[in-house]
């Protein structure tokens, strides 16, 4: 990239740091007022956002983009009103900043408390959908963080218009314009620059497909929260209610196939295979799902496609599922440990012992007992908002709401205390 483009990205990050210093001590009321102003401005100026969006959509059409992607890209007055309504919902959520997580008076009389503080500068790198531009900005503002938004080039005009509206709104509310910034540049180079802005950017959150996430995770010197790749499993135990198992399986797989919490592999205990697999295959067929089975599953139906080694590691995000028969719960756990992305795994069982063992042994973000994998979701968990689903173990694991956009600091109050 040209050095001027590089310095433009770093300048953006430096301005974000300045804004973050202003945002950190703000009270909830000030932040909520700015969010309400932002929501109002999006609605009031939706015509100019839609006009910019039309340009993106036309360009996408000219580039031969598929209709599903076009639909995700498209903004209308109604959709903008819905996005603004989501911002108003964020106003209703508690402010995580200032929460005292723990505290004590030490034996020497020092008063110790651990207090939530904003992370500082949050970079969000995302694809396609322009609603993330608003969601990300709103959640970061509520949690006292400055945000650097790096959307896809396909939505660049839409994002530029949205960010201009949001910046005007926060300025009108008395906050720095650089509370919210779009990272300049439409090429991949600006992403690289953001990934190595260590010391200026506190955390990067990539949201999108597996390839985007891998690129960011492997190339960043800035700390990254890995999100959203889901190779989720449904394990049907030896002791199980067959109808319930079929319902959970079909819901986990086919309720919405394009999302990270949909199931991609079915594992069936061999003691229940004769009873369950034929029911499962029929129900999956009705739902339009192609089954990629091991030899044992193939034996039940000619419709089953032979699974290859790659199937066990595949996040299909389509009407496909891998399926295998396993000799025990422990073999199911071993399979999951080897192949899962660590997102969500479900057991369907009537056995309390099996449920307890599965929960103890499965090392994933969420473990479901007799419930669909589709429940791993900030909204479903009652968090009120979600910036993504972390599948890593550091900092945040699972659906990330406002508290996950904070760090902490220790405040220690003494009376002339020195160490002896």
């Amino acid at each position: 990239m040209t050095s001027s483009a590089a310095s433009a990205v770093l300048d953006t990050a430096r301005r974000a740091r300045e804004a973050a210093a202003v945002l950190a001590p703000l009270t909830r009321r000030v932040k909520d007022d700015a969010l309400l102003a932002l929501a109002d401005a999006l609605v009031a100026r939706s015509a100019e956002i839609v006009a910019a969006n039309v340009e993106d959509v036309e360009r996408a059409r000219a580039n031969g983009t598929g209709e599903a992607m076009i639909d995700r890209l498209t903004l209308t007055d109604e959709r903008i009103a819905a996005i603004a309504s989501d911002v108003r919902d964020v106003v209703g959520l508690p402010d995580p900043v200032g929460e005292v997580l723990r505290g004590s008076t030490l034996p020497n009389g020092l008063e110790l408390r651990q207090v939530r503080v904003p992370l500082g500068v949050v970079g969000i790198i995302y694809e396609a959908r322009p609603n993330v531009t608003v969601d990300g900005a709103a959640l970061c503002l509520k949690s006292g963080n400055a945000v650097l938004l790096r959307g896809s080039s396909s939505a660049y005009r839409s994002n530029t218009a949205i960010v201009a509206v949001m910046r005007d709104a926060v300025v009108a509310a008395g906050l720095p314009a650089d509370t919210i910034q779009l990272v300049p540049g439409e090429t991949h180079d600006s992403v690289k620059e953001l990934m190595t802005a260590r010391g200026l950017v506190d955390v990067l959150i990539p949201r999108g497909g597996a390839s985007l996430i891998r690129t960011v995770v492997e190339g960043s010197t800035v700390p990254v929260i890995e999100t959203g790749v889901g190779n989720c499993h449904v394990y049907v135990d030896a002791s199980t209610d067959l109808e319930r198992a079929v319902n959970i399986l079909v819901n986990s797989k086919a309720h919405r196939v394009s999302v990270c919490n949909s199931a991609e592999t079915l594992l069936v205990h061999r003691d229940v295979a004769d009873a369950f697999v034929p029911l499962a295959l029929a129900a999956l067929k009705d739902a339009g799902v192609t089954v990629h089975g091991d030899a044992a599953v193939q034996a039940y139906s000619a419709d089953v496609v032979p699974a290859t080694d790659a199937d066990w590691d595949t996040e299909y995000l389509s009407y496909d599922i891998a399926a295998a028969v396993v000799p025990s719960l422990h073999d199911a756990v071993a399979h999951i440990r080897r192949h899962s992305s660590g997102h969500t795994e479900a057991i369907v069982t009537t056995s309390q012992a099996a449920a307890r063992e599965f929960v103890a042994l499965v090392d994933s973000t969420a473990v479901m007992v007799n419930a669909s994998t589709r429940f791993t979701d900030g909204g479903q968990f009652g968090f009120g908002a979600e910036i993504g689903i972390s599948t890593q173990k550091l900092h945040a694991r699972g659906p990330m709401g406002l508290p996950e956009l904070t760090s902490t600091k220790y405040v220690v109050v003494g009376d002339g205390h020195v160490r002896s």
Copy 2:
């Protein structure tokens, strides 16, 4: 590095993953019994550890290592007994694993709980002191993690002997030998291999000097917890008790100069400079401290060495301190934001408003009000043990005890729940 050496490091990590799966569901009693066995074994076999240590010490002497470093490297029966006693203290700490951090029953009846789980495989990269070999292993075992220990080559024989004793002890207690492993190889290549073992190692914790920490932070694809670089500040406010301020300053600087929570810069409000700076200079001189001052501080004494730009960013770890006069609390905060490593900053003030403002505006791991910077410490905070002091914002910030060696998972229990 040779490919066989590389695969040796990765094999170590793979074996650690297997061990981690066994450790995760263990009860506190099993882990505590193993720790007690480990402590007993260290004492029982201290002769063979000391014999190995003698070789390291002789080699260090032959290489011209200074006496301070030789002292840190040296193990005796008494020192090993003290290290074993620290392990017994860890037995007394609560097990963080299994703690329910939050939970609720969702409107649809799903029971949601967030439970602490081990991180998995923790790699510790450290310098010189062989006591870290035991501390790191004990804290990781207590928190259910498998540990990969990568000490310095100068302590390789000592660490090899200690790890052999610890592995025998955990095996005798019924745990996998690979609960505790020394990373093979004495060269820097094995560190590099560890840093890129993403997917096998869950977190790396570097403990040591700034250069080691920078190398690990910048070169790792494995998530890293940055520890311990401390450019700490003492700010003496306009309203202040002079004697208290002198005591806190001298304690922060000179109580122990080689540690990360010692003060490296003094900032004085100009309204109190005439009264305070002469007292401070006299007390620092008595404590053997050289002051590197700005023009205003130089005006008070010919002993003051003129500060260069580099002084404000220097972690001396010696009997030196930088000193400047600032026109306001806001200028002190701005100086700290620009130059601090984000470890610990102290304000000395009698003004409640100034204390409140300093705490709100300073973005560091710990903020002290009328107390020495030396209090930022797991032991002082009452955490009972410390694996290091994190100066980053993700995951853990400040002294890291057992809870900071854990992640969480969500357990969701239903009754056939599917999403509609």
